[in-house]
């Protein structure tokens, strides 16, 4: 697979900074989203690179979560949402009729704002994805997947003696790590995180941030966050959204120390947001 099918970014886009990366996982060209009459995302062009954390920041209602949900077609579940433009995963259009949304979501995991473990045991929560995608041939393999996923999510030591307890019996931070384990159990290429720490206390947040840093080695991670400190801590690239426009993309260090756009500067210096 190559990105040859993906056209280069057209001339004249308003986004400031370097929107493309070599060998991207995701390539997005002129993505627009409408909710009914509302134009939520306007001509967004951006690439998401391998083994990098892309942070998406911006004031509330700027469209960053909407854009994130385009990447695994979660907007399909919203009746009034209409997505146009090209979104390519490894060079293949994710809206291609020949491909299935189920396959897409098996390759693009997602972690939500509020931890949402299923009403099942801890083990079954993690085993759910591998089960529905038939990733394990027998119980032994499934055990192995659950074990590895929980270890990677940094939860194994805390839950290894109570895998049969309900997932909802864990604390908020543990639940969120369980959801991360659940997402990585299907071995995705990309993990999308929609404000994963906004419902957690600072200690649980710190653990998740460490985890994100570790996971970066194996997965491309795209994280929406309201905390600029968090974006600065965990990400390599940062994208700033404003009222549906992608204003600026660049290396995180550069965005936070030397933003090019006036809007970005105003936002990160706390003039609004």
């Amino acid at each position: 697979m190559s990105d040859k099918a993906v056209p280069p970014v057209r001339e004249g886009i308003r986004t400031i900074g370097q929107v493309t990366v070599p060998e991207p996982v995701f390539a997005c060209r002129d993505v627009n989203v409408h909710y009914g009459d509302k134009h939520a995302i306007k001509d967004v062009n951006i690439d998401i690179g391998r083994a990098e954390v892309l942070a998406m920041i911006g004031p509330s209602g700027c469209g960053k979560s909407t854009f994130l949900r385009c990447l695994n077609r979660m907007n399909d579940t919203i009746e009034s949402a209409r997505v146009t433009g090209l979104i390519a995963l490894d060079g293949q259009d994710i809206h291609d009729k020949r491909r299935d949304v189920v396959q897409l979501r098996a390759r693009v995991g997602m972690v939500f704002q509020k931890p949402n473990p299923f009403p099942k045991s801890i083990y079954e929560n993690v085993a759910y994805g591998p089960r529905i995608h038939g990733l394990a041939a027998d119980r032994g393999e499934l055990d192995e997947i659950v074990n590895v996923s929980l270890r990677r999510a940094g939860l194994w030591e805390e839950v290894k003696d109570r895998l049969n307890n309900p997932g909802t019996s864990l604390s908020g931070g543990q639940q969120q790590r369980l959801c991360i384990a659940r997402a990585i159990a299907v071995n995705p290429d990309v993990i999308l995180m929609d404000e994963p720490c906004s419902a957690l206390d600072p200690i649980a947040t710190a653990r998740i941030e460490d985890l994100i840093d570790e996971l970066r080695e194996s997965y491309a991670i795209c994280i929406v966050t309201h905390s600029m400190q968090q974006a600065a801590r965990v990400s390599q690239r940062t994208a700033y959204f404003h009222l549906g426009d992608l204003i600026e993309v660049g290396e995180t260090k550069k965005i936070f120390t030397n933003p090019q756009a006036k809007l970005t500067e105003d936002y990160i210096t706390g003039r609004f947001g």
Partner: protein, 462 residues
Amino acid sequence: MSPSIVLLLIVALAVLAFQVGKARAIAVVGGHREVRNLHSLPGHYGLLTAMWCAIPALFVFVAWVAFQDNVLTRLVTAQLAEGQQPIPAAQMSLMLNDLRNVVAGSLPASSVTEPVRLAAAEFVRLKRIAGFSLAGVALGAGILALLWVRARIRPDLRARNEYERLVEWALFACSAVAVLTTVGIVLSIVFEAGRFFSIVPFTEFFFGTNWSPQMAIRADQIGSSGAFGAVPLFVGTLLISLVAMVVAVPLGLFSAIYLAEYAAPKLRRVVKPLLEVLAGVPTVVYGFFAVTTIGPMLRTIGESMGLTVAGESALAAGLVMGIMIIPFVSSLADDMITAVPQSLRDGAYALGATRSETIRQVVLRAALPGIVGGILLAVSRAIGETMIVVMAAGLAANMTFNPLEAVTTVTVQIVTLLVGDQEFDSPKTLAAFALGLMLFLVTLLLNVIALYVVRKYREQYE
């Protein structure tokens, strides 16, 4: 003076009291301009006065109406007995009966004995007097209370607080009526059931397999020894409820899943109320539907397959009852499925689960306690259902699990035991109370479990 006129007078007095209280409050503070110096609004003083005025008056009224006939009867019978030999109890009750009939006008005065006629006349006279004295006492109590409150009205009287406390008590009294009535019903059932079990042993009732509640009225009567083994009734009830649940659970559950997860909102808005209309159809209508349509239809189908189906069968009653309770299952299940947070569905979709996988493995799993609760409520409804089974299930206390035969249920037997003339010391009649107690306990248990399960589930996602 009839009680309804007295009641009207009390209401009028209360209205008057409102005006008096309000005017007094304004007067004590020194006119309309000064109402700011009152603790409460003038209207609150009026309401307080009206409440205090109405409560004693109504109390007297209710007590009077409740005991009037009793007291009057006693006075009259005391007169009847005067100067004669003591009248035997049986004769006395006969005379009283005549007396009541004469007073009610359903028996011509000429057809009863002289003392009874005199007593009846006396009764009517006393009743007239009582009517007037009721008005006097009730209104008197009201007026006294009015004057008392009026004297208490000062600017610093906390009228609003007092009035609100009175309202609180009034609300409490209303709910107490419902609770006490229930307690009374339960106690009466328990008491009568106790009498039944003092005649018929527990073991026969709970383990006997022969139900034939005809009691011999004369000592020499044949074949009516009375047998009170209730097992066939329990089996019949169980069988019909089972058939009903086999119909209602899948239909109700699947329609709930369709409505909650698949149907377009527009369709859902139309179909859901339509389905709930099923719950509003009177059960007697279902009953004759079962008797005139389903029963004969089952028999024809059975004959064509070489089966003998009784004209009244557990199957017919169960099928129709199942249709009846579909809305109980579907409506509650639908609520529970809709209450499953969208975030759970999103979580499953984001893992690449299909719609059906999400519904089966995540949504239903989360809604399960609520659905089970709904099903239990439906079961208790099925067990207590009477009209359909009276009409369609038959009366024969067959001990069978074959749904093609006629069976009878606890509710049907209660109806047949209590229809017609009964003596209340016969085990035949008392058996109805024992059955009622069983029914009450089972449905109570089911409801408690169901409510517990539902509540526990609700706490989880709110």
